[in-house]
């Protein structure tokens, strides 16, 4: 267990010291958010209606595009080779790296997104449900992104491929994330959607390490 914490701690310090980690993801998130009203027009009522959806999509894309950082560096400098020879199964290493990505990028973004909602005229009452849904959803986002990152780690132009592979997996997260963050919706709907989001997170918690480790092993061969 100590080993997993050591790996997460190291990855967090690395992402803070080098490459600005959350800074670039936040920059990307803001860029997506600014394009929206420019594309749709500054009409407040319209923006308010699409605000939750827009924030979710911006979150998905930000997490997705920062995903290739999860394994890339360790793959290139040979750390992954040695990590397969660690005292703990390689799946745990894959899980630890996905968790490090979640803590350093997805979670902070999931917390920042609702707070930046005012840019797209998100009603204040929608902030809390959106934050709750996004924090829960961000777990699944990072775990699924880890699979995409593992599958494309050896490829040179992996970025685009990650999107095509992972976006379909994001559809359920988006659907239930959105239905969980509708402010006016019937309470039953919100809790049900949150529960399903939690289920998706648990499923990905199991699938992601297995799939990522298998993919990484094939690249190390």
């Amino acid at each position: 267990m100590k080993l997993i914490l050591a790996l997460i701690k190291r990855d967090l310090t690395l992402s803070l010291r080098q490459g600005g980690g959350i800074g670039t993801a936040l920059g990307f998130f803001l860029s997506v958010v600014v394009l929206l009203p420019i594309g749709i027009g500054p009409d407040q009522a319209l923006l308010a209606r699409i605000a939750p959806g827009a924030l979710w999509i911006a979150l998905l894309l930000s997490v997705l595009l920062s995903a290739d950082r999860i394994f890339q560096q360790d793959y290139e400098d040979g750390s992954l080779d040695i990590m397969t020879m660690g005292p703990v199964p390689f799946e745990m290493v894959a899980l630890a790296k996905a968790v490090a990505h979640w803590l350093s990028t997805s979670l902070p973004l999931a917390i920042a997104a609702p707070l930046l909602g005012f840019l797209v005229n998100l009603e204040p009452s929608a902030i809390l449900p959106l934050a709750l849904a996004m924090m829960l959803g961000s777990i699944a986002l990072s775990l699924l992104a880890a699979i995409g990152a593992a599958v494309t780690v050896g490829l040179r132009r992996g970025g685009l491929l990650v999107s095509i592979l992972v976006l379909p997996l994001y559809v359920p997260v988006l659907i239930f994330g959105l239905s969980a963050s509708q402010p006016g919706a019937a309470p039953g709907l919100t809790t049900a959607s949150l529960l399903i989001l939690g289920a998706i997170a648990l499923v990905s918690l199991v699938v992601s390490p297995l799939a990522s480790a298998a993919a990484l092993r094939s690249y190390l061969k």
Binding site: G19, T24, G27, F118
Partner: protein, 240 residues
């Protein structure tokens, strides 16, 4: 080792000038704030909220001014290969970003009583928002590339490309804004400002400028020290 040679002249000037620059900054702020909060009359239309202008407008001016300084320094570095210019550009960015953020924040605080929404995609605020993204991009480049020399070369290009885009973004956003004529058009600067309302604005503007000068000189001094430390470390490592 060319870099180590010429900053000594700059350091001498900076060390000499800094105390006076700080003093001028403090005096200007005192006068400016007094003018803004006491002598300037409330606006007949907006009432007291017009006073937000005295922190919003100078911040917006500075956000643009600092990016211009960065672009100029980057051009100098590109043409004359002057490492001090890179240091100037790199250290100016965080200061400019804070001014830019403040102009956005105070703009939003000013907009709320006027437009009823914390954020309206008004032409000026939108362009300022894009400028904020340019700052973030520029600082991310320095953070992403470890080796200072390589980072400097890339950052020069990023600053210049950004600078060329500012008027283009400004023009297109203004045009876009006129296209979607928002219901309540609001002249950010209010009616033509006269006498007692105007001089505090100019003084605050000067105060912000001197504050930037003081911060920039200090930040450059620190960055030069950081680079010397890095070179000493490299030399130390090289010995064995």
């Amino acid at each position: 080792m060319q870099f180590l040679a010429n900053p000594t002249r700059f350091l001498k000037i900076a060390n000499a000038a800094l105390p006076t620059v700080w003093a001028i900054t403090i005096v200007l702020f005192a006068i400016g704030l007094y003018g803004a909060l006491v002598t300037a009359p409330a606006d007949y239309q907006q009432g007291e909220t017009v006073r937000i202008m005295y922190v919003h407008v100078p911040a917006a001016w500075m956000a643009l001014f600092v990016y211009t300084v960065m672009a100029l320094a980057s051009a100098l570095a590109l043409i004359f290969r002057h490492p001090l210019a890179d240091v100037a550009a790199k250290t100016a960015a965080p200061i400019g970003a804070v001014f830019c953020f403040l102009s956005l924040a105070t703009g939003s605080l000013w907009g709320k009583p006027m437009w009823g929404a914390w954020w309206v995609w008004d032409a000026r605020l939108t362009s300022m928002f894009v400028l904020m993204l340019l700052y973030i991009g520029y600082m991310a480049i320095w953070a992403a590339i470890e080796e200072p020399h390589k980072a400097a070369m890339v950052a020069r290009v990023v600053a210049l490309v950004g600078f060329i885009n500012i008027p283009i973004v400004k023009f297109s956003v203004d045009w876009w804004n006129s296209l979607h004529q928002p219901a309540s058009v609001f002249r950010m600067g209010g009616p033509t400002i006269a006498g007692p309302m105007l001089w505090p604005l100019l003084v605050m503007g000067l105060a912000y400028t001197f504050l930037f000068l003081a911060l920039h000189l200090t930040a450059m001094r620190a960055e030069i020290a950081a680079r010397k430390i890095r070179q000493i470390q490299i030399a130390e490592i090289g010995d064995r």
